[in-house]
Symmetry: C2
């Protein structure tokens, strides 16, 4: 039976989902789940949670725990990486420094949710180290990369190591908000979304086999204004109202395809992000997920999940299935593992090397596309070409950002890091950007990065 290793298992949100999905997938029973985290306290809580949840659901799964990453990989068939190195605080501190230098919401404001600190150094270093350990310890295992930045991370691993890597995200499920808004039956809707992680577009939208974009156009024409005045929009959670926000409609008009999920923030142009008032106009009353309001709400929610789990675990009598339910989480990690391990067919939205799936993008970058799993392999859908304007103003610049980040990281190229900051539309002077970079690299958590990047 499959051995699944979860790196960064201390995260309450991800781990509760994985545990629930594992316990609900009988075809994976009999397997071993190795939980690994450097935070022993959190790890113990998640381990207790997992063991009790599986007892409650009578799932035949063995949960192990370790703080030793290399040990965790021994015998692994699947490795899920959910790590945020150092947690969020360094990233928040770097954002505050950048704001003092005139970069509202940090360098690359639109990717604050996954940038992960200057040069994305800590994340990329971790990803590469992990993949290299896997090459040695479990070379046949699958690496399921769900930690951000997924686009940079999976492209890096696919290019630099021999590991089978696949990126998994849940952002694309936001298309369901569109289906709901249009009042369509989910069963009769068929969608294709394609692009890069956090930069995907509705390339096909069918209802009962017919193009449903006209229905969306009609909604924009007749219902959008009312929706933006509705309680649902005005009181909704920052991230849940973004999918049908003015930003989405404007991006659709500008680039020709409807943006989906995190794309709203990560791939939207700079003039949506100049200040909180502007963000509110585009993303709703909180200014969206990335604003000071939205992001704080998100961090509080993470904390709350952590506290909830800790509290429940401390009460041996509490029912975890009652607290969390036992329905599938909707995350794709366990269905992916089940399909590969048990040679099942499945349709999933995954991040895999392009290899011609999107014809007007390079072959050697990771794309997020619909895939079919069969015969234990992932087969990407043929998407064809993305619209030219979208490609020239969004996809190619995003590729360039990825390539610059990877080049700076792989070569330890400080000039490249600086040039990347100078490329931010808010950059105002060479000296100012250099001072910002120096200040960032002087932070205590960046000692290793500061030694890595050289002029």
């Amino acid at each position: 039976m499959a051995q699944i290793c979860i790196i960064g298992a201390g995260s309450a949100v991800f781990s509760t989902n994985f545990v629930r999905d594992l316990c609900g997938t009988e075809s994976l029973w009999g397997g071993t789940i190795v939980l690994m985290d450097v935070n022993k306290n959190r790890l113990d809580i998640v381990h207790t949670f997992a063991s009790r949840f599986s007892r409650e659901t009578k799932a035949d799964l063995s949960f192990k725990r370790t703080t030793d990453r290399r040990k965790a990989l021994e015998g692994a068939d699947f490795v899920i990486c959910t790590v945020k190195v150092g947690g969020y605080e360094p990233m928040e501190a770097e954002r505050r420094i950048a704001e003092r230098h005139g970069f509202y919401r940090g360098i690359g404001d639109r990717v604050s949710d996954y940038y992960g600190g200057v040069g994305a150094y800590h994340q990329l270093k971790f990803f590469l180290d992990l993949a290299r350990d896997m090459e040695e310890i479990c070379p046949d295992a699958w690496l399921i990369e769900t930690a951000n930045p997924v686009f940079e991370g999976t492209t890096l691993i696919a290019r630099e190591t021999k590991m089978k890597v696949v990126g998994v995200c849940h952002g694309h499920f936001a298309y369901k908000d569109i289906v709901n808004a249009l009042g369509l039956d989910h069963e009769s809707v068929e969608v294709h979304m394609a692009g890069f992680n956090h930069c995907i577009w509705l390339t096909q939208f069918l209802h009962s086999g017919e193009d449903a974009y006209p229905l969306l156009d009609e909604w924009i024409e007749n219902s959008a204004e009312n929706y933006w005045k509705s309680e649902m929009y005005l009181k909704g959670l920052p991230w849940s109202v973004e999918q049908l926000s003015p930003a989405a409609v404007d991006m659709y008009r500008m680039y020709g395809l409807f943006p989906i999920g995190d794309t709203l923030r990560s791939a939207s142009p700079w003039w949506y992000h100049s200040d909180l008032e502007t963000k509110k106009r585009y993303f709703g009353p909180t200014g969206g997920f990335d604003s000071e309001i939205g992001w704080k709400t998100y961090l509080k929610l993470l904390e709350k999940s952590q506290r909830k789990m800790k509290k429940l675990v401390s009460k041996p009598s509490a029912s975890l299935t009652r607290a969390y339910g036992s329905a599938p989480s909707g995350e794709q990690h366990i269905p992916l593992i089940d399909a590969i391990e048990n040679n099942k067919k499945a349709v999933l939205q995954l991040n895999v090397p392009n290899k011609g799936a999107i014809r007007n993008l390079p072959d050697d970058v990771t794309v997020e596309i619909p895939t079919k799993i069969s015969a234990r392999r992932i087969h990407g859908a043929q998407i064809g070409k993305l619209p030219e304007r979208l490609t020239l103003y969004v996809m190619m610049p995003r590729i360039l950002m990825m390539e610059r980040t990877l080049q700076a990281f792989l070569k330890g190229d400080k000039k490249s890091l600086l040039l990347a900051i100078l490329n931010d539309p808010r950059a105002r002077s060479f000296e100012g950007c250099k001072a910002l970079l120096d200040e960032l690299l002087a932070q205590p958590w960046n000692i290793e990065a500061a030694a890595h990047y050289r002029w």
Copy 2:
């Protein structure tokens, strides 16, 4: 014998050079030169100049003239295009409008010398019309594109028509300033420069077969500061001091190869160009060729050439060879024609489809590289790869700018035009950029462009 057609022959500077070179190239004698321009007055002056110059030099060449472009192409073996549609005034007026909107020196400040108005519409339209006429009238002729933008223009023609097109520029000869500064013998120096037109880099610099970059490094270390205090630098013409300016040294340090010629302006980063004072710091006391001082000097010089020719031509007794000399101009157009027409060998710096010459750039863009002409064909040198940082921060963005310009032009895509303006680092708001675009397209000389570009 070859029939050579010069489109835009009314330009005094280009035409005097071509006439001098033709009269000095005996192997092309017996041929016919068709001078074409829409400005009959200028055309007549150049025609008189050419006829008298060839009589003085006893060159056996027949000079014809016409204002009919299609007629000019009849029987042509070579067509040289030097056209600046509408002259410089519309471009200057557009620059003034852009400056009122906060874009110092106009949109895309660093390409003021060849941008040619919003969307480069007039130039690209002309290039394509000319090439399409040639497909019909003289399909076997060579099109020698020397009008700007050469990069956009030659790539457009190569992709969209069947014509043999080659771009010719003289900017790369600025490398001689380096050879002179180092006190080297020109005969023992061998150089390769490669990139895109106005964006070329010293990829090979040999002196007596040995790498001469260390000599350049030494000059920077020991002599540059003194040079920047010298009469030669402080009193030199705007464009003649740029090659060894602080900008050149800084770009070399930043990108790893020495920039050559127009590259100094066209491919330098935004922070060299924020205002006149900054430009002076980087490009010398006039702020370089593109500054309000340098550019005015250039336009005056063009006017002066025109007046000089007019005056000489009006005096039947004046000796034109005495006034202009009869040495080769240094321009490559006539040597290129001579090599192809007469099956000679030649080494020239030309703009041709990449096709793998620069390995880390796409195949279907025009590159400027050293070439060998033999057996009537142009053989590009193998350059290998350009440095990564240079590619990621200069070459790829330049390709993107070209692709965006061509896409907007070919599709009449006004959204793309607007997005391109929004991409200028000085852009501050969507509304501001839209107002600027609207104002530009409302100018009387842009009536056709305004109808071409649609939302």
